[in-house]
């Protein structure tokens, strides 16, 4: 056994227990400060992850005989940083969010931690069973968090819908795993890959592969497994949606990368074309359906479907440059989406709703919030000099190299489509005056400036800075990612 390879996960388990104890023992007054514990915990995890460098490339084997279930390769190590970064920002969002909702905040951070554990395990999995466990750990935490606002019917509905459709997808996944196990007789990636490499896989095994990919398709919200997205995004609390759209999608994409580029690599001719078609459908559906939306969370939900299309586009190239492009795209998507959701969290606390018309005149009410949302959305749209532009460029370039010009054309057209609805939000923030009349609750808060405290301000500025940095100084990031994304 090679314990240091799982040090981060073990430390996180300790963190979960610590938060559980803190939630049980601390008095109600002190519970409001529990975010400090959670935030500090993530920083400690960062330290542990840094300490793990010497063990990069090693594996963890629970049983002496047999194949490793868990690997800490450069790929896993690099993406674990991105998950920690996501969690850091989400905790800062939750801090703003829970100021209103009051009690039981301890549980919320506990669930965030268990979701993080799921993501950290997922990026290291080397066995289908562990993959299933990691995925369930992540999604179970998200089911509960999605329904967290117990007094809000929409939140309950979101949790229930997510639970039902998520269970269906887990069913797909497990069924696929069982088919693969049935034909190969093993669940670890090395044996599976060797079996696929023989080129004599039965139809049953191929069906198993399809079902596993379908189960992961739910996680990244690709067409035709996207149906849960809009309602869940609209109803669930905003920090949860941020985690769902960034963390969960990134975890799905990372697992897809690992599966497609190692286990299923020998049959790339089979999945490349299918992913290309799904990618085109996903981009077009997500971006076109986002146009008529009037709720910012729903809009971002459809936009996240559109981005899943770009991720699939990079994956469909079945080339190393495509995989690296997906990595860069994920980094850019993470920054842009977190920036956007942070603003949604702060603004919806101040305004009391997620309707787009409540963003009228946001640039007068809080220039920083408007600027952050502006930069975040334009980065998602792929406008230089922001991060999203380089991500899109790399994905398109890899697809041109793969020779699918029709897919490039669809991807390029979708840039213009997505810009249209992102600019609709910009239009409200910058072109429209703040609302002075309207619903009674809007009248109360209609044209006041929105207070933004110092820590939130710093986080927003850091996100803007990160988007600019990743968009302008691409080479270091590209170098790290291309060193990591190698199978």
């Amino acid at each position: 056994m090679n314990w240091p390879t799982v040090a981060v996960e073990l430390a996180l388990c300790a963190g979960v227990l610590g938060l559980l104890l803190a939630d049980a023992l601390l008095g109600p007054a002190k519970k409001q400060a529990i975010w400090k514990l959670a935030l500090g915990g993530v920083l400690v995890l960062g330290g542990v992850l840094w300490w793990q460098r010497p063990w990069i490339g090693q594996t963890f084997q629970p049983m002496a005989a047999g194949q490793p279930m868990f690997v800490l390769d450069a790929f896993a190590w690099t993406f674990k940083w991105l998950f920690l970064l996501t969690m850091l920002v989400v905790i800062l969002m939750t801090r703003v969010f829970t100021r209103r909702s009051g009690a039981n905040v301890g549980e919320f951070y506990l669930l965030l931690y268990s979701a993080l554990l799921g993501m950290l395990v997922l990026v290291s999995v080397h066995d289908l069973l562990l993959l299933f466990i990691g995925l369930e750990l992540l999604t179970f935490s998200l089911y509960v968090m999605a329904a967290y606002l117990k007094t809000d019917a929409r939140s309950i509905e979101a949790g229930l819908k997510y639970l039902i459709l998520g269970s269906v997808s887990s069913g797909f996944l497990v069924y696929g795993i069982s088919l693969l196990y049935g034909t190969v007789g093993a669940t670890d990636f090395t044996t599976l890959r060797d079996a696929f490499a023989t080129g004599q896989m039965s139809l049953v095994a191929k069906a198993g592969m399809g079902l596993v990919l379908a189960g992961l398709g739910f996680k990244v919200a690709a067409v035709p497994f996207h149906l849960w997205v809009p309602d869940v995004y609209e109803g669930a609390p905003a920090p949860v949606v941020a985690l769902l759209s960034v963390g969960s999608k990134m975890a799905g994409a990372v697992v897809l990368l690992r599966l497609l580029y190692s286990v299923f690599w020998p049959v790339q001719a089979m999945w490349g074309g299918i992913l290309a078609v799904l990618s085109a459908a996903t981009m077009l559906y997500g971006n076109l359906a986002a146009i008529p939306q009037t709720n910012i969370k729903r809009l971002l939900g459809y936009s996240s479907i559109g981005h899943a299309g770009y991720l699939l586009m990079g994956l469909s190239t079945a080339s190393p440059s495509g995989a690296q492009a997906v990595g860069y795209y994920l980094l850019a998507y993470l920054l842009g989406n977190l920036a956007a959701f942070f603003v949604v969290v702060v603004a919806s606390q101040a305004v009391g709703s997620d309707r787009l018309e409540d963003y009228d005149g946001l640039s007068r009410r809080s220039p920083l919030l408007a600027a952050t949302l502006f930069v975040g959305l334009l980065s998602l749209a792929g406008v230089p000099p922001l991060a999203g532009f380089t991500g899109k460029l790399l994905v398109l370039l890899a697809t041109v190299e793969s020779g699918r010009m029709w897919l490039v054309a669809i991807g390029a057209v979708n840039v213009a489509i997505s810009l249209y609805y992102y600019l609709q939000v910009v239009r409200r923030m910058y072109l429209r005056p703040p609302a002075t009349e309207g619903s009674p609750e809007a009248r109360g808060t209609g044209s006041h400036t929105i207070p933004v405290d110092a820590l939130t301000r710093a986080a927003l500025l850091a996100l803007i800075g990160g988007i600019l940095l990743v968009g302008i100084v691409q080479e270091p990031f590209l170098r790290v990612l291309s060193a990591a994304i190698r199978f």
Binding site: L419, L423, L478
Partner: protein, 524 residues
């Protein structure tokens, strides 16, 4: 001393730095914002003038190069450099942006935000004219397009367009039909239309650029290196013919090549004056410049095959644009359609593939840019004073606005192609240069000159002569010499180029002649 600093990088980064500084200036200090913007653009202008004077005409080629490897795995470098053609365009942009910043003193609300977006726009355009790397070319191109959205959407104004009777019935929800076959377009509609058109064009061009990059096999985005590589290992002619239309249409949208022009007059008209100046004066030239530098420079066989189509379409620009301009009543729309008409001459000059016509095309970009900038600045002043741009409501302003009226007559004369202005020289070169290859188009282009003088003279008469409506007794001319400075600068340069075009034409010719000589002789 100047040879040791990277002049082009300073020209490019001065406005960007200005925008960055503005972000931390308090919003209440509008005067600081204005001064910072003036300072930033003055630096660029001074250095642009220096480059045009200092460019080594005997050596030719790209000069003042800056090359910093940027994304080495992909062969992307931050490569700046100008040749004779782009040096002239850099000067044009520096002049337009400097005068534009001065004209922007009329902006009174949300000044800080305005200048941030304006300076970003200026940076983007400088970047396009100086970049010698496909990646950065596109990078700056898109960076120049996006600020137009808030600039038009926030500080712009709604537009009344005259339309033929039939299309009124199909007016959609965004254009509320007004009486007398006039359609109102909201500024939000104009801004969105412009941004989406230009972005759609940009991504089409990007597809072409990426395809070109991959097909060449050189693994470099560097224009110079790519050109050398393609010179040694030419791309399959069939592939060239497939990629060229992507670039020509993609960049043609902003040029604006008919029938992709419809964003442009409305966009010009809805934008605030200083933005229209840059927009019509410089932004449209990005398209024709990109077609010269990238589409033709990298795909010569594709160009020879497709340029006759461009020549055919640009005739539509000249004639159709001119006729529509005649029908308009909104001053800015008249100039807007006139711009799209005049850009037809530029495209014709490019399509002719002779050194003479290309000299004329680039010179016309320069002269037309200044003329249009002047015209939009003047309309801006008239609009500020009278709060209308509607031709039937105006009249007799010549007496109360003597300075503006003088400049207006000069702009109209320049636009109509009267001798003594750069436009005359440039249009003459274009028509002479394209006569051999496209006689029909050249004849139609001469007809276009007549059309231009009709609507320009009608506009001058309608605004400055006749009787002054009683409501306009309070109108004021420019008061201080500082307020007159932008107009004077533009008029002076226009006259200078008209009377002594030789230095500029020689500068353009240094690069245009070798450029054209790389093309195979077109079949007669």
């Amino acid at each position: 001393m100047l040879s040791t600093i990277p002049i082009l990088a300073v020209i490019l980064l001065a406005p960007a730095l200005g925008a960055a500084v503005l972000c931390v200036v308090p919003a209440s200090r509008a005067d600081w914002a204005r001064r910072i913007a003036v300072a930033a653009t003055s630096v660029s202008l001074a250095l642009a003038v220096w480059i045009v004077l200092d460019y080594d005409r005997t050596a030719g080629g790209y000069q003042y190069e800056v090359l910093i490897p940027w994304i080495r795995p992909l062969g992307i470098g931050f490569h700046l450099g100008v040749d004779g053609m782009s040096a002239v365009l850099v000067l044009l942009h520096a002049l337009c942006s400097f005068t534009g910043v001065l004209i922007s003193y009329a902006i009174k609300e949300r000044v800080k935000e305005y200048y941030i977006f304006y300076l970003l726009l200026i940076t983007g355009v400088f970047g396009v004219f100086t970049s010698l790397d496909l990646f950065f070319f596109y990078f700056f191109y898109e960076m120049a397009v996006i600020p137009m959205y808030p600039l038009i959407g926030i500080w712009g104004s709604d537009v009344k367009e005259a339309v033929i009777q039939r299309s009124r019935h199909s007016a959609s929800a965004s254009m509320a039909a007004a009486p007398h076959s006039v359609v109102r377009f909201s500024k939000e509609y104009a801004a969105m239309k412009l941004t989406i058109y230009l972005t759609a064009g940009a991504v089409i061009a990007l597809t072409g650029l990426l395809w070109l990059y991959v097909s060449s096999g050189a693994r470099t985005f560097d224009v110079v290196a790519l050109q050398q590589h393609l010179g040694a290992f030419p791309l399959d002619a069939r592939r060239q013919r497939m990629i060229f239309p992507l670039l020509a249409v993609g960049f043609g949208v902003i040029a604006p090549l008919w029938p992709f022009h419809s964003w442009s007059p409305i966009g010009h008209a809805a934008a605030p004056s200083a933005v229209s100046m840059l927009h019509a004066g410089v932004l449209m030239k990005l398209g024709s410049y990109a077609i010269i530098r990238l589409a033709m420079g990298l795909l010569p066989d594709g160009a020879v095959a497709w340029l006759p189509w461009v020549a055919a379409l640009c005739t539509m620009n000249i004639i159709y644009g001119g006729l529509v301009a005649m029908a308009q009543k909104d001053l800015k729309l008249i100039i807007g359609y006139s711009s799209s008409s005049h850009m037809g001459y530029v495209l014709l000059g490019i399509a002719a593939l002779t050194p003479l016509a290309l000299d004329g095309a680039v010179l016309l970009m320069f002269a037309h840019g200044l003329m249009t900038a002047l015209a939009f600045a003047l309309v801006g002043h008239v609009y500020d004073q009278t709060h209308t741009r509607y031709l039937p409501d105006l009249g007799g302003l010549g007496k109360s606005l003597p300075f503006i009226a003088t400049c207006g007559v000069i702009a109209a004369m320049a636009s109509s192609g009267l001798p003594g202005f750069g436009n005359f020289v440039a249009e003459l070169l274009v028509i002479l240069g394209s006569w051999d290859r496209y006689p029909l188009q050249a004849v139609l282009a001469v007809l276009g000159v007549v059309i231009t003088s009709v609507y320009m003279l009608r506009m001058v008469r309608g605004v400055f002569f006749g009787t002054l409506p009683k409501t306009f007794t309070h109108v004021q001319d420019t008061q201080t010499s500082f307020a007159r400075l932008p107009y004077l600068v533009l008029v002076a340069v226009l006259l200078f180029v008209g009377c002594w075009p030789r230095p500029l034409v020689r500068l353009i010719d240094v690069s245009a002649r070798p450029f054209i000589s790389t093309f195979p002789r077109p079949p007669r």
